[in-house]
């Protein structure tokens, strides 16, 4: 019992055998070629200006990944097995258009839509009850896929053209990521116009330590967006152009399986402050939004 309980008595200051913490790590090698299943939940809290939490929207994405080395195709294939919305306390409802939709993941460096995600899939979304999904909520459906790949691929896989997870070798190390100060397009189909962009601040990755997720040893890597900002131009009607500017600060942890290199869990907390100008309104519309996100790897373990 004494041996298995870490933490020495007062005054003893006994050091435990923590040699694993002092090892050199390689977090950037290829992932094992097994299909993976993920569940992602994103909670979006809207604040009133007096701090009251007005509403919470919940987006739930179930995503399956079949690696290219399994399919023999040129890229990892992702299938959305389920997507549900729960808006402001209303019952959870599914989006039939997303169910069993498959796409091939494309790295951010490639031309074409961001991460290979087809915009047309998010046009005129309706829920399982036949209700149209409002344009701003449909954007968050799209953004769920973007978030997923940002955390599970951009941050959790080696970066090209700059520093990335491949440079984190020892616990405590911190780097400025290749994504720092980049300005990515955030346009989407006919609802969010081209020229809409998200500008990252000084994005950092830090090797915080080791964790245990679902009984699997993981590297715990923190990311931090730094002082980020964005601008969006939305045309809800042909002659109406709504402009939104704002700031974002997002940060969280990624737990990378030390044996398979797949992400076992990721968390994210984001604060967004925005101002929207609508030509037909005299006053600008201000909003403060908090987003909390958890991604869990729910792939059955061998033998399950």
């Amino acid at each position: 019992m004494i041996y298995s309980s870490i933490g020495a008595g007062a005054g003893e200051a006994k050091r435990t055998d923590a040699s694993i913490l002092r090892q050199t790590f390689d977090l950037a090698a290829k992932r094992t070629p097994q299909p993976q299943a993920f569940e992602m939940e994103s909670r979006m809290i809207t604040y009133a200006l007096d701090g009251k939490r007005l509403s919470t929207d919940i987006f739930r994405l179930h995503l399956k990944c079949v690696p290219a080395r399994v399919t023999g195709k040129d890229a990892d294939e992702y299938t959305c097995t389920k997507f549900t919305l729960q808006l402001a306390g209303a019952p959870e409802v599914e989006l039939p258009a997303m169910k069993d939709w498959t796409y091939r993941f494309a790295p951010a460096s490639e031309k074409g839509p961001v991460f290979g995600i087809d915009h047309t899939q998010f046009e005129k979304l309706v829920d399982a009850k036949g209700q149209p999904v409002p344009a701003d909520k449909a954007y968050h459906v799209y953004n769920a896929f973007i978030d997923f790949h940002a955390f599970c691929n951009v941050f959790a896989e080696p970066a090209t053209g700059g520093k990335g997870i491949q440079d984190l070798k020892t616990i405590g190390q911190k780097i400025v990521h290749a994504a720092a100060f980049t300005e990515a397009p955030v346009n989407l189909g006919s609802s969010v116009k081209e020229g809409s962009t998200f500008k990252n601040g000084e994005v950092t990755l830090e090797f915080k330590g080791l964790s245990l997720e679902d009984d699997i040893a993981c590297a715990s890597v923190a990311y931090d967006s730094g002082e980020s900002s964005f601008r969006m131009v939305v045309t809800p009607m042909p002659n109406l152009e709504v402009r939104t500017v704002g700031s974002s600060h997002y940060k969280g942890d990624i737990h990378v399986d030390l044996a398979t290199r797949w992400v076992r869990k990721a968390t994210m907390n984001e604060w967004v402050v925005t101002e929207t100008t609508v030509p037909t309104l005299t006053n600008k519309i201000n909003a403060v939004v908090e987003r909390n996100l958890v991604i869990r790897n729910v792939t059955p373990k061998a033998g399950e």
Partner: protein, 321 residues
């Protein structure tokens, strides 16, 4: 011959010390330390500790622009009761500096070398109704080293730096009375609702902030997230999260003027707890504050969005203690 014998040993040493294997192998490293039972609640070792704390307060404009950053720096020494023979740990503020916006950093002489006994009661309040035994009088009519008066809202930040320090390094990082706390985190991944959850401590301060001002915690949680290394010391990595918190404050900037502020807070961060000494080695904290103030003389309410980022570092070794 000698070179041939040494080379494989070097290769073995290199490959052996790099954790993570080639794709497809999926071999598990020796991670038994992660599966141990932990005791994070025993008494701390009997050594004097020195801490540096830095808090950055970022003010957002309504359009999201970051319009101002204030930086507060606190250097604090703790002499344990078992060293002094007193009834409580003794804290000495070695230095406190402020930097408002782009102005130069300036010291606050009134709190330099100020000593107090930390009182960790179940409610957090001492016999005078003051949090943690921190004397409110110390923060009345503060002036900086240039002789400039520190505005009441900024003076509150000075006071709050001490409250934050003890909130993280004592309330969260030491065992609790009357509810769950760090003593209940025994294995990796465990998460508990902390005794501080849903409590509503007072946040009044001297003549500036009236009694009845309170901060209401949400569902405060602690989670044993992992193991880390800070300055070479193996640490338990414990996450804390305030849940959906809120506050109300009544400020009297002038005798006949009462300003009321209400708002929301969400703070979260990590504690790094030295596995050998149980002293805090590092703390990180981020907080979002959304507030609205009602000033009787103004027709419109005033809204504010703030972000606070805090880092506490144990600098005992550097301080030569």
């Amino acid at each position: 011959m000698r070179a041939h014998r040494i080379l494989p040993v070097v290769i073995l040493a290199l490959t052996g010390s790099t954790i993570c294997l080639a794709a497809g192998q999926s071999k598990r490293p020796d991670d038994s330390i992660l599966r141990q039972t932990f005791d994070l609640a025993g008494p701390r070792s009997v050594q004097v500790q020195v801490f540096d704390m830095e808090t950055r307060v970022i003010t957002y404009a309504p359009d999201g622009k970051r319009i101002n950053t204030d930086v507060l720096k606190l250097k604090l020494k703790c002499t344990p009761a078992r060293v002094t023979g007193k009834e409580a740990d003794e804290y000495t503020c070695l230095k406190f500096t402020l930097q408002f916006g782009n102005n130069p950093e300036v010291a606050v002489p009134a709190v330099a070398h100020w000593t107090y006994l930390f009182k960790n009661t179940a409610s957090g309040l001492d016999e005078k109704g003051q949090m943690f035994g921190i004397d409110h009088a110390k923060f009345e009519k503060l002036v900086d080293a240039n002789g400039q008066a520190i505005p009441p809202d900024k003076a509150y930040y000075v006071y709050n730096a001490f409250i934050d320090f003890h909130g993280f390094c004592n309330v969260f990082a030491e065992p609790t009375q009357g509810g769950k706390g760090i003593q209940d985190l025994k294995s990796m991944g465990q998460k508990i609702v902390h005794a501080a959850a849903f409590t509503e401590p007072p946040v009044n301060l001297g003549s500036n902030i009236e009694k009845g001002s309170t901060f209401k915690n949400g569902e405060v949680t602690l989670e044993l997230k992992g193991l880390g290394l800070v300055d070479g010391a193996a640490c338990a990595l414990v996450g804390f999260d305030s849940g959906q918190s809120s506050f109300q404050m009544v400020v009297k900037p002038m005798p006949n003027m009462e300003v009321r502020a209400v708002g929301a807070s969400h703070y979260k961060g990590d504690l790094y707890l030295d596995l050998a000494t149980r002293w805090v080695r590092k703390v990180t904290m981020d907080e979002l504050v959304v507030a609205e103030s009602t000033v009787p003389a103004l027709p419109n309410k005033m809204s504010a969005v703030l972000e606070r980022d805090t880092v506490i570092r144990n600098v005992t070794a550097k301080a030569g203690e």
